[in-house]
């Protein structure tokens, strides 16, 4: 449950309450957004956030006061999602990363991955296009974009939250962004923007 191997703490009830109120609760909006983007369902996201906070409270002695509470909470939420929600949801099966990463590393990729998308077209997407494009990505790709671009986590923090090497964070992120751009170029085309 812990992000770093730290000695178990022995907090008093007052300390627990303080940590919970001052270090955990301030992240509730980010946590809710993360849960919603993962489950794409309001009720599921409420349950997921509540489960996560109760787990965080239960394991509060594994949390070192003053360390990165947000990353610690995100990791618990991500694990709860995988264990409790992903199984029952209708998510398509996990992508084969071996395949994805060898695809990413091939030279072939350069020609295909640069969809011609323009900033002007993007700025005209004033409705749900961006949100829908993000939601359309496979959950593993969606996750890295949420962590990096929405929540501003660094690569090393993402590696810990997701339990994957930093190199995988980078390649997954790169691939996720290309998929997002492909999706956005489709919308741009539908909006009448010509691609060169």
């Amino acid at each position: 449950m812990e992000l770093e191997e730290t000695a178990k703490q022995h907090y008093t009830d007052t300390e627990r309450q303080q940590i919970f109120d001052n270090e955990f609760m301030p992240h509730i909006n980010s946590m809710y957004n993360f849960a919603y983007r993962l489950t794409l369902d309001q009720d599921d996201s409420k349950d997921l956030v509540q489960d996560t906070y109760l787990k965080a409270y239960r394991f509060i002695d594994s949390f070192q006061k003053g360390t990165n509470a947000k990353a610690w909470l995100f990791r618990i939420l991500k694990n709860s999602f995988i264990n409790d929600y992903r199984k029952k949801s209708k998510e398509p099966s996990k992508v084969d990363y071996q395949e994805v990463e060898s695809y990413y590393n091939s030279e072939e990729v350069d020609r295909q991955i640069t969809p011609d998308l323009r900033v002007e077209a993007l700025k005209d997407m004033i409705g749900d296009e961006i949100s829908n494009a993000l939601n359309s990505l496979d959950v593993d790709f969606r996750t890295v974009i949420i962590l990096c671009d929405l929540e501003g986590f660094k690569y090393d923090e993402m590696a810990k939250i997701l339990d994957i090497p930093i190199g995988t964070v980078r390649s997954r992120l790169h691939r996720a962004r290309n998929l997002l751009k492909e999706k956005l170029s489709e919308y741009a085309k539908q909006m009448g923007y010509k691609t060169a």
């Binding site: 009830d13 627990r16 309450q17 919970f20 609760m25 509730i28 909006n29 980010s30 946590m31 809710y32 957004n33 919603y36 983007r37 409420k46 956030v49 509540q50 906070y53 109760l54 409270y57 990729v109 350069d110 640069t114 998308l117 323009r118 900033v119 993007l122 700025k123 997407m125 749900d128 961006i130 949100s131 993000l134 974009i145 949420i146 990096c148 671009d149 929405l150 929540e151 660094k154 690569y155 980078r170 992120l173 790169h174 962004r177 997002l180 751009k181 956005l184």
Partner: protein, 91 residues
């Protein structure tokens, strides 16, 4: 970064792939100051595809942030979590 004269820039980039990787490191705040300096001050001003890509990457991140985050958690959820934790402390 200044606004360079686009007609005088390179219209094609010989290292598109490496540049794209560097560009993402920079936008993600993971590049070293030297890498950042070199790429933004030297390469970007003379290479049109990279100049465009850079601005696209920045715009996508801004759009993502403004469109896909910023919603508040429902108050009932916040209240319910707090109540459960307090009950826990009391027991």
């Amino acid at each position: 970064m200044s606004n360079p004269d686009q007609s005088r820039m390179k219209q094609d980039c010989a290292n598109k792939r490496e540049c794209m990787q560097m560009l993402q490191l920079i936008v993600d705040g993971e590049a070293t100051p030297e890498q950042k300096d070199h790429f933004l001050k030297h390469h970007l001003e003379e290479c049109l595809p990279c100049f465009n890509n850079y601005h696209l990457e920045v715009a996508i991140r801004q759009m993502l942030k403004s469109k896909c985050s910023g919603d508040c958690a429902p108050q009932e959820l916040v209240d319910s979590i707090k109540a459960k934790v307090i009950r826990n402390l009391a027991s």
